[in-house]
Symmetry: C2
Amino acid sequence: MNDPTTPSAPAAGLEGVVVAESEISYVDGEAGRLVYRGYEIEDLAENSTFEETALLLLDGELPSRESLTAFTERLEAERGLDDEVLDLLHGFAADADPMAALRTAVSAEGMFDPDAGADPLDGEATRRKAIRLIARFPTIVAAFDRLRNGRTPVGPREGLSHAANFLWMLSGEEPDPEAAGILDVALILHAEHGMNASTFSARVTAATLSDLHSAITSAVGTLKGTLHGGANAEVMRMLLEIEKRGTDPETYVDETLDAGKRVMGFGHRVYRTIDPRAPILAEFSRRLGEKSGETKWHAWSERIREAMESRKGLAPNVDFFSASTYHALGIPVDLFTPIFAISRVAGWTAHVEAQYAKNRLIRPRARYVGASGRTWVPFEERR
Amino acid sequence: MNDPTTPSAPAAGLEGVVVAESEISYVDGEAGRLVYRGYEIEDLAENSTFEETALLLLDGELPSRESLTAFTERLEAERGLDDEVLDLLHGFAADADPMAALRTAVSAEGMFDPDAGADPLDGEATRRKAIRLIARFPTIVAAFDRLRNGRTPVGPREGLSHAANFLWMLSGEEPDPEAAGILDVALILHAEHGMNASTFSARVTAATLSDLHSAITSAVGTLKGTLHGGANAEVMRMLLEIEKRGTDPETYVDETLDAGKRVMGFGHRVYRTIDPRAPILAEFSRRLGEKSGETKWHAWSERIREAMESRKGLAPNVDFFSASTYHALGIPVDLFTPIFAISRVAGWTAHVEAQYAKNRLIRPRARYVGASGRTWVPFEERR
């Protein structure tokens, strides 16, 4: 039975379907450009900081010095977790996927936030929640990582940038300025990307007039998947698998493709040519490799890139070189996707604010193709 | 600047946009029919149980006696919470919205589930997770309610139906058979409803190949909003407000509409005429009112229904009479939406299984209408 009220063919992936107008970012898939609020991503990577970029995404304008100082101070002041949330983190499973832990902690934050009971359409309350979430994502990820390793969480330290403070809380050691600078740019690069799946899920949740924490919890869970944020960890697992097998990258690519499997970190729903974030991360991967003397991860990545270009004509996406970059920064593989989240929460909150500002319930249709005309019968009469 | 690659007008609510073919349920908005797997909702309400309906939704067929017995035993065996999750619940905020608590607990379940590390495309592992979640939703809601009231959680009791056991765990008292029967039918009525917002959010999350717990966590957060599952609690708050004001229902409707505000529980994105679930719940509301001698909630509901029909031509939806029904069952107002979730998790899990079976990343587009051609400048040069 077909549903006569929904006759059109299903657009299962919503490819090319426009669900919103947005002033936040422009993904030019043909030209391989990414633009936040009118600024090219290369320009921001060269000149901005994560904090400034986050405020740009939220407010639409590069801030004045005073505004940025105030925002940075707010972030610093909000970095610490409430005791109640920290207590909950102590009860998390040590072997949990860090994205499952982050998802749970973000949801828990929604129970303890001072504005938990506010109307989602109260813009000032929602902004306060947004700042708390942006501030605390790194704290949650670092605390979970330390706790699962039987170590005491390290609290945030004043005077450190968002990126540097994360490295501090993760290791409890003075962060290397170059490492912090590279992570800062990586956070800029991942902060926003149009109507991607996690951002869309945040907007679908927010559009029922659910609260910001619900929306961001949805986004974390959506980012977790290997077809989205989970891909950067999968890229690193591929590089580690190549090392383990003792094969060469070209052979690995051939064998993977011949087996009908996917080589992670290539291609993109929107970019048809280049992902403009990839070359910036490739340069970081190269530079960090040379600095540490461990150049193979970058070299193998470049060889995989060439093999994929020649065999499939596909270019690397943002996930591909972020893997070797984060690995060179000493970050555990399963924290790669949480770092993506630490950055993307800026874009998510900007999108949820935009959703609330011009809300409409997001409620598509399914086309029914199932059974019809059945009647309930007792067990004895069932086939 | 308009994005030339996405020229079409935004479909902000995705109204009428078909995102999937589905064999699970058919919502006939014109005729006011709801069909699960080929069975009319009235037929299932009359003859089935929540357990049988849940298995019907998951498997597509009315089960044999043996299959239903096995499924019911699995549900009973999985009702209890792990100590780790129960410990976490003890640390939840007593004043938290129960939907925020449920969202957090479901997410936490994802850290402790024995199949937490399984590939989402492993259908057997995903089904085991689905059964655990369906089984535990009532346990979580009841335990949170008791804990927030300073009481010890009551564990599940064997030999009780899903609905009766929930009432048992909530009150610690022998459930009234008629109350349990009515709740059982209410659970049938709410179990599935096509590509509604929470179900869609679950599928958007699952479509990145994230796990079932992520998808269901998204759905809980999406259901929480007042434009979706949150509406049934809003209906009851309206009835309580009428009592508090000492006004009559017609005056309340007039004043609310004249102030440009929404009267909750009316109209539906899909149903153009009648929501077939509403009359069934209206009958329960009436019957429970007469039984208890407290008839005003049902009587006022009927008067609001008539006023809304005459003033706006709108019919009540599923949320409208579920309010007075649940209130008559002695359920606290802020548990109305969690009860919706206790039921809908059956449909959610069926939809996530269907999404995995034929997956495609759900990634729409935004049409960029923001600034263009800007260049980063230092503070001194900013306007």
